[in-house]
């Protein structure tokens, strides 16, 4: 009885599986030797998102803002 119930509940359990590999889907940010070099390779909208996440330390944050300034883009645009 209990094994039948266990089997039933297992069959109903259908998680969504995100099976991901960063060699197939490239990361949006990878350390490139310095904060400045790292942000140079990141899309503008991703940099704006990282600034909104608001958990970067001063050096990362300054580099993100400097990269947006270099592109002539406001952090809030």
């Amino acid at each position: 009885m209990s094994s039948k119930r266990d089997s039933l509940s297992t069959n109903l359990f259908s998680p969504t599986i995100l099976d991901l590999d960063d060699s197939r889907t490239p990361p949006v940010f990878v350390w490139a030797g310095s904060n400045e070099e790292s942000f140079r390779l990141v899309a503008t909208e991703e940099i704006q998102l990282f600034l909104r996440m608001n958990n970067l330390g001063p050096a990362s944050r300054a580099a993100a803002l400097a990269e947006l300034a270099r592109r002539g883009i406001s952090p809030d645009a």
Binding site: T10, F13, S14, P15, T16, I17, L18, D19, L20, D21, D22, S23, T25, P26, P27, V28, F29, V30, W31, A32, G33, N35, S38, E46, L49, F50, R52, M53, N55, L56, G57, P58, A59, S60
Partner: protein
């Protein structure tokens, strides 16, 4: 996303196996410290695994790694996520082989869904010394 998703577990480990029939999860060699080559080399590949529950909704999932000494971001991976049922989890299984660690020390893995932090995991990187 309201309410924000919750994570039943966030793990870093050497391998993850999800049984196709039962969906049972096997984590192999879940670690607290990892010996890995430092920048400019890429890390020894490892896995991040999380079990997330959320409201029926779609969003963006970001997995971020920060060096804790300076709160410097060293890695971020982004992917869309859809919670189809309040009581069915999303299993996030990410093979991380492109991460580059600038120095040995403490790091923090952070999982975001949209602009909510849903999980944190601290781990240590030791410089791999090969003869």
């Amino acid at each position: 996303m309201v309410p924000p998703p919750v994570v039943a577990g966030l793990h870093v480990c050497r391998d993850v196996l999800i049984d196709a029939a039962s969906h049972e999860v096997t984590l192999t060699r879940s670690f607290r410290s990892l010996s890995a080559p430092l920048y400019p080399k890429v890390t020894t590949p490892f896995w991040a695994f999380a079990e997330l529950y959320g409201p029926v909704a779609k969003g963006n999932l970001t997995l971020q790694v920060l060096a804790l000494d300076k709160q410097e971001m060293v890695y971020a991976f982004k992917h869309s996520v859809e919670f189809k049922d309040r009581f069915e989890p999303v299993f996030l299984k990410l093979n991380m082989g492109q991460c580059r660690f600038p120095r040995p020390g403490e790091y923090e893995m952070i999982v975001w869904v949209d602009l909510d932090i849903v999980a944190l995991r601290r781990f240590e990187i030791l410089e791999e010394t090969k003869p």
